[in-house]
Symmetry: C2
Subunit: 420 residues, 2 copies
């Protein structure tokens, strides 16, 4: 039985983390206001930087992160899962279908161009073929957590661009898995891996398609029985509508669905957040019967900052010293290729929208790190290259929110920021 | 960096725990309904039993509790801390002061009678003086978590009896600490420990008094400036009143206050939940400015079941085989002495109220286990006696909710149960 003292240490850690996150968030708001909105620094950037400060100073020992780090990490993972569930809740199936084609183009161009960009850069730098393939695969990833957070903070879930970004990110994750499987197959040599690759990829595709079709079916059946359940305005309403019952049981069902599909997504080799998003989308079809959005939002207020803090805490700044120049080059390539690729995919929506989508799609986040880590673990990627990818993942993640907020504001004007 | 697979295992564990808790809760509701309300089995009893099932069957390995147990334990601890914070939020200082005297009598008689009951029983059974002293100290504890849960589920936070119970539990925790310090002092021999005991106890008393006085001062100052902030009806209102602002910043401040005072309570040797309750009471004085009760409730819906599951999971049923008869005797003494002691303290409120208070005060829960564990760790209490105390702690915790609900219903009629 763990004693009260151990809990005391963890409470102290939570306390410091929450204070750091809040102060960092307030500083970002202050900076945004001081620049009269010309420079937009969303709170989430502050939270990641606060995490970097914690992970790279004496605070790390002070908070006993070696012992208790896993707990904060798990809280953060639950945070990003609930965040994407909440995003799914505000993404009705019917709306997603409308943008499906565009999202597909955004995803596929956002896979191909960055992949060959990364591959070409590392081939030109005289790295080995296998290593260059891994860097390419890491460039494919899109970490939609931070973009989802910016969108939610700006209350722009209903914007068409937001739906394209989220839809494309889901498709992107499936494609990223396929690319990764192929790269691992090639690196391990021989075509024996090909069939295995195909099986892994098909399972993931089937999993996502099955849920999307299920959502479509439910949407159709329920739509016939009554008037459309979700309207755009209502989808963003923060209060509990009258006449909706069973909101406490709704919460249990929502949690079970969310954690269940997140688990299965991981089981099929996808990111947990893909499952969480799909779960939210499915659950949204039952909004008239089971309403719990306000409760999920409240839970997110607690959990979500831990995710962005933990992203920052994972960064070891000392690793970047020797590889800084190359890491910056890789970051620029990562931003430009994804911005152009995804922007091109959405060019039919107009230049303003394409810029929003391009800037919302380029954060690589933890997904790129996982890809590089697999390569490191297999002995194919060396430590220096791993550090470069980590730098690129963090730098793209930090660079995206200000740009995304800026382009959103240019199109939608000043939206009221919702604070976590 | 922990991988997706590890998170998958944890998500799977959470999923199973939530499903088990929900199913157990529904079974309890069903049993209550099937008996036409004659037997009341609150959901929380089901959750503890579900925890016992998990902790004592193949599910334990299945959920990888050895590796991930700590995470579920921490979630549970956060749950009970937030639960007591929510209870504090609904306990205005002015109301607590009204019942202060009664709560004091309840606490002091609820300390003295069980202490000598346990001491006498184990002296009569020919155990050593020191061991009997430790059992007596374990009998003193009141674990208010389960009672708070029943009160909240029945929406009876505003009842006078509820306030007496909570107030007495806080006083009881301070007294329990004093008794424990004295017992440890005597067991370690010599009066050298006496001064140390006095210092520890005074620190705890000062901590609690300081916060209560602070609350009283704020209540007075704010009361002068405007009309009374908290009225009884309003205190139980589940919706966000209009015109209250800054509810998102309110949440951060609430979390910081709650975790901060919980940490300091542990630092001063008290239970974390005592600090959480005091934090809630303090924060309640600012309800007009910072309102976040609905959000705390939502967070509790997620966290609280983990506490009661983890209480059950800690039980090792196999330990009870050889000591069952004595353990049952100890349990009966524990229930009778606390019921009579606390009931006597509240006898002026009438028989019905005294029964409610007596039955709400007898769960010993984890506090008694911690006392017995200190004795075990110091080599004073033997393993068998430790198992008996653990049995007593669990049995009193399981026996209280049905009795408490029954007496509450007798006085207040059928209240609508709020489900977690």
């Amino acid at each position: 039985m763990a004693g009260e003292e151990e809990i005391g240490t963890i409470l102290f850690g939570l306390l410091v983390l929450i204070i750091m996150a809040k102060v960092a968030g307030l500083l970002c708001e202050w900076a945004t206001r001081a620049s009269n909105g010309k420079v937009v620094i969303p709170s989430v950037v502050g939270e990641i930087v606060a995490g970097m400060v914690i992970g790279n100073t004496v605070l790390k020992e002070f908070l006993d992160l070696t012992d208790n780090g896993e707990i904060f990490y798990v809280l953060g993972q639950l945070g990003v899962i609930f965040l994407l569930f909440a995003v799914g809740l505000e993404t009705p199936y019917s709306e997603l279908r409308k943008v499906g084609k565009t999202a597909f183009y955004v995803a596929i161009l956002g896979v191909i161009i960055p992949f060959f960009g990364g591959l070409a850069l590392f081939m030109a730098l005289n790295y080995g073929m296998n290593e260059a393939l891994f860097v390419g695969a890491a460039m494919v990833a899109t970490s939609v957590g931070i973009t989802a957070r910016v969108i939610k903070d700006m209350k722009l879930m209903g914007a068409k661009e937001s739906r394209v970004i989220i839809g494309a990110a889901v498709i992107d994750d499936v494609m990223g898995l396929i690319v990764l499987s192929m790269v691992v197959g090639v690196a391990e040599g021989g075509s024996g891996g090909l069939i295995e690759t195909l099986i892994v990829a098909s399972e993931a595709v089937l999993f996502v398609l099955a849920i999307i079709f299920l959502g479509g079916y439910i949407s159709k059946v329920r739509g016939k029985r009554k008037k459309p359940v979700v309207e755009m305005g209502e989808a963003c309403a923060p209060t509990t509508p009258e006449g909706r019952t069973m909101s406490t049981s709704a919460m249990s069902i929502a949690l079970i669905l969310c954690l269940g599909l997140s688990y299965f997504a991981i089981y099929f080799g996808l990111a947990g957040i893909v499952g969480a998003f799909l779960a939210g989308m499915l659950f949204a079809e039952f909004r008239d019967k089971f309403f719990c959005q306000d409760k999920i939002e409240a839970i997110n207020e607690f959990f979500v900052p831990f995710f962005f803090l933990s992203v920052g805490m994972e960064v070891n700044i000392a690793d970047f010293g020797s590889v800084l120049v190359l890491a910056i080059v890789l970051t620029i390539v990562a931003i430009v290729t994804k911005f152009i690729g995804c922007g091109l995919g959405a060019i039919k929506m107009g230049g303003k929208s394409a810029k929003i989508i391009g800037s919302g799609m380029f954060p690589r986040g933890e997904v790129a790190m996982i890809v590089a880590w697999i390569g490191l673990d297999a002995g194919i990627v060396e430590g220096e290259v791993f550090s470069m990818v980590v730098f690129m993942a963090i730098a793209t993640t930090l660079a995206s929110p200000p740009l995304l907020s800026y382009y959103f504001k240019k199109k939608y004007g000043n939206t009221k920021e919702m604070k976590f």
